[in-house]
């Protein structure tokens, strides 16, 4: 008698010979998206430059040479020199290490904390959700720039403290994104099914809910990195964040503002690199969003 049912498997073959998870299918779509790949390429290129800074920069970032100050871009100094005779190109390379890593670390930190908070609020709902959300509301009621400035001012400037300040102000973003995902998923039958076969709460969240809700998280994370890189630059620009002689791009911009008229190149290069980073990340982020939710395109 089982044969009759086995026969059902004969006719329609499963199309792909190699099975592909939904994520795999999304990644394939992503790879086809030109602007996303260009964006990713740009970002990776800049990251590579930053990583290889100690090996490829012609000079140290703090090496001063007053005799060669304010030199225009030339063969010896590709991006010219600043007011202390430091090679701008080398400073840009090293600066990338700070600007990018602050962006990535702050986002990673915010994501971890945000996920825990968002998961708790989303899964349990009710009063717990209420309390957490109101708490987040308070954070989000303050304009992010201002919030970051206040925290940064309170903590002081410096690498670690800036990361911390940036992370805190971005936690609500992640928490809300994940909470929304979880809430839309909570009533899915496969969560009920997990309950019915004896799956405990923790395993439900980790194995059933999180894997299915991190798609929007990825998009948020990508956009966040762009945002934090920009914010880091802004903080340094106004004297918080990372301060000279550390060659953070925003700090370099800040230092250059006194010389705009005569030596605009001091402004152009850090600005260009900041803009390229943000552009690349945004292009990639848009492509990621499209790839993960193909329905939007049709």
């Amino acid at each position: 008698m089982a044969d009759k049912n086995a026969a059902a498997t004969v006719a329609a073959p499963v199309k792909t010979s190699k099975t592909q998870s939904e994520l795999g299918a999304a990644m394939a779509r992503l790879r086809k998206n030109k602007s996303a790949m260009i964006g990713l390429g740009l970002f990776l290129f800049l990251a590579l430059l930053a990583i290889l800074a100690p090996y490829i920069s012609p000079y140290g970032y703090a090496t001063m040479n007053p005799a060669e100050k304010f030199q225009l871009p030339s063969v010896r100094h590709w991006f010219g020199t600043d007011e202390y005779g430091r090679d701008v190109f080398s400073r840009i390379l090293y600066g990338g290490r700070y600007s990018l890593s602050v962006g990535l670390l702050a986002t990673a930190f915010a994501m971890c904390v945000g996920v825990i908070i968002g998961a708790t609020a989303g899964y349990y709902g009710g009063q717990i959700d209420n309390i957490i959300m109101r708490f987040l509301d308070i954070f989000q009621a303050i304009p992010m720039m201002l919030l970051t400035i206040v925290i940064s001012a309170a903590l002081g400037s410096g690498f670690d403290k800036t990361i911390f300040a940036l992370a805190i102000s971005h936690v609500p973003d992640f928490a809300r994104t994940l909470r929304a995902s979880i809430m839309s998923m909570r009533d899915m039958e496969y969560i009920e099914a997990a309950e019915a076969i004896g799956c405990g709460t923790f395993r439900q969240i980790v194995k059933y809910i999180l894997p299915n809700s991190f798609a929007p998280l990825l998009v948020t994370a990508t956009m966040n990195v762009a945002n934090t890189v920009l914010l880091t630059a802004s903080l340094s620009y106004i004297g918080l964040g990372i301060q000279p002689p550390t060659p953070e791009w925003g700090a370099m911009l800040s230092a250059a503002k006194g010389f705009i008229r005569n030596y605009p190149y001091l402004l152009i290069f850090p600005g260009l690199f900041i803009a390229t980073t943000v552009l690349g990340l945004n292009m990639f982020g848009d492509g990621l969003r499209d790839a993960l939710d193909p329905r939007l395109k049709d």
Binding site: A7, A8, V10, A11, A12, K15, R29, D298
Partner: protein, 333 residues
């Protein structure tokens, strides 16, 4: 089916394709239909057979980017709808041809009062004042059993059955000559379904409207249809009057459908099912599109594509072995 020059609606050799992720989906593969005024044609088939695509093609509301009508014509009283400009087609939609969609939950604009959604249709097609349009809308609402005081209500304040009534009202607001009803009651409870169907039939009879009813439910076909077309993999496998097909189902797929339906009179416990699954529309089988699932398939079925042949007046079938198969079946009993 006899071709007459004065047929109200004639679809000729319609071919429609979708493209998705670089693949071509052969949704409709050469469909021809005829419909007279006041008649009801049922398009019967399972998910993915192409019935909705046919309906949307007649209305020309297929998604621009992914769908394309490759060839064929759709004549409404002699005029090919596929040749009309978009502006002219808009005059046809809602006024001469209307559609009732499947899911009442999503077919209404949630931010607009239901009364206004109906009067909007009226205003678009008629030169009337706002007040006059509202008056007409109210009378249609009452026709579908919704009191005038609910004109200002929003969709979310209605139940599924009520929403579907609003949708029917919208479709009938301009007294169309042809109504396309795409599974109009699938999402509704059985007792509500009965109400809505009765209402649709009554309105149809009153205005002598032609109707194309898209459904998978043969019971509804028995109630409502004059003629029916059995659709599978974008093709018509059997086409004819309701009486002819119900009394003498001639295609193995049609026979299978009738046997697979749990009905309220047979006493046997097990259901006769159709083995296998509908074909992948990107890779349709060679020969007869049904042969992979057909218990009577032979060598010729795998390579030769059968034509739609007349097996009796008012009854066409696309199966070269139809009479042999009926003989086989009869011999078994």
């Amino acid at each position: 089916m006899a071709d007459t020059k004065n047929t109200f609606l004639e679809v000729k050799d319609l071919v429609v394709q979708y493209t998705s992720a670089g693949e071509v989906i052969h949704a409709v593969n050469g469909i021809s239909l005829q419909l007279e005024r006041g008649q009801t044609l049922a398009l019967v088939g399972e998910t993915g057979a192409g019935k909705t695509t046919i309906g949307k093609s007649i209305m020309r509301i297929l998604p621009d980017r992914s769908a394309s009508i490759k060839s064929g014509s759709i004549f409404l009283e002699g005029q090919d709808l596929l040749q009309l400009s978009e502006i002219d087609m808009r005059k046809v939609r809602g006024a001469r041809i209307s559609m009732v969609f499947q899911d009442p939950m999503t077919a209404l604009n949630p931010t607009m009062k239901i009364g206004n959604q109906i009067s909007e249709v009226i205003k678009i097609h008629n030169e009337v004042s706002k007040a006059e349009a509202k008056k007409q809308a109210i009378s249609i609402l009452e026709l579908v059993g919704i009191t005038a005081e609910r004109y200002d209500a929003y969709p979310h304040q209605f139940s599924g059955g009520m929403k579907q009534r609003v949708i029917v009202a919208m479709a009938l607001a301009c007294s169309p000559e042809l109504l396309l009803a795409d599974e109009p009651t699938t999402a509704l409870d059985v007792t509500i379904q009965a109400q809505i169907l009765e209402m649709i039939y009554a309105l149809r009879d009153k205005s002598k409207m032609a109707m194309i009813l898209i459904t998978h439910d043969l019971g509804i076909v028995a109630q409502a249809a004059d003629t029916l077309a059995v659709i599978y993999a974008g093709e018509i496998l059997e086409y004819g009057t309701k009486e002819a097909i119900f009394k003498d189902p001639s295609h193995p797929y049609t026979m299978g459908l009738f046997k697979a339906i749990p009905n309220l009179t047979s006493d046997s416990r097990r259901l006769a099912n159709i083995e296998g699954l509908p074909p992948d529309p990107t890779v349709l089988p060679a020969g007869c599109c049904f042969h992979p699932r057909c218990p009577y398939a032979q060598e010729e079925c795998r390579s030769i594509k059968p034509e739609l042949e007349v097996i009796s007046p008012g009854h066409d079938c696309r199966c070269t072995r139809s009479s042999e198969i009926k003989q086989e079946v009869a011999n078994v009993f």
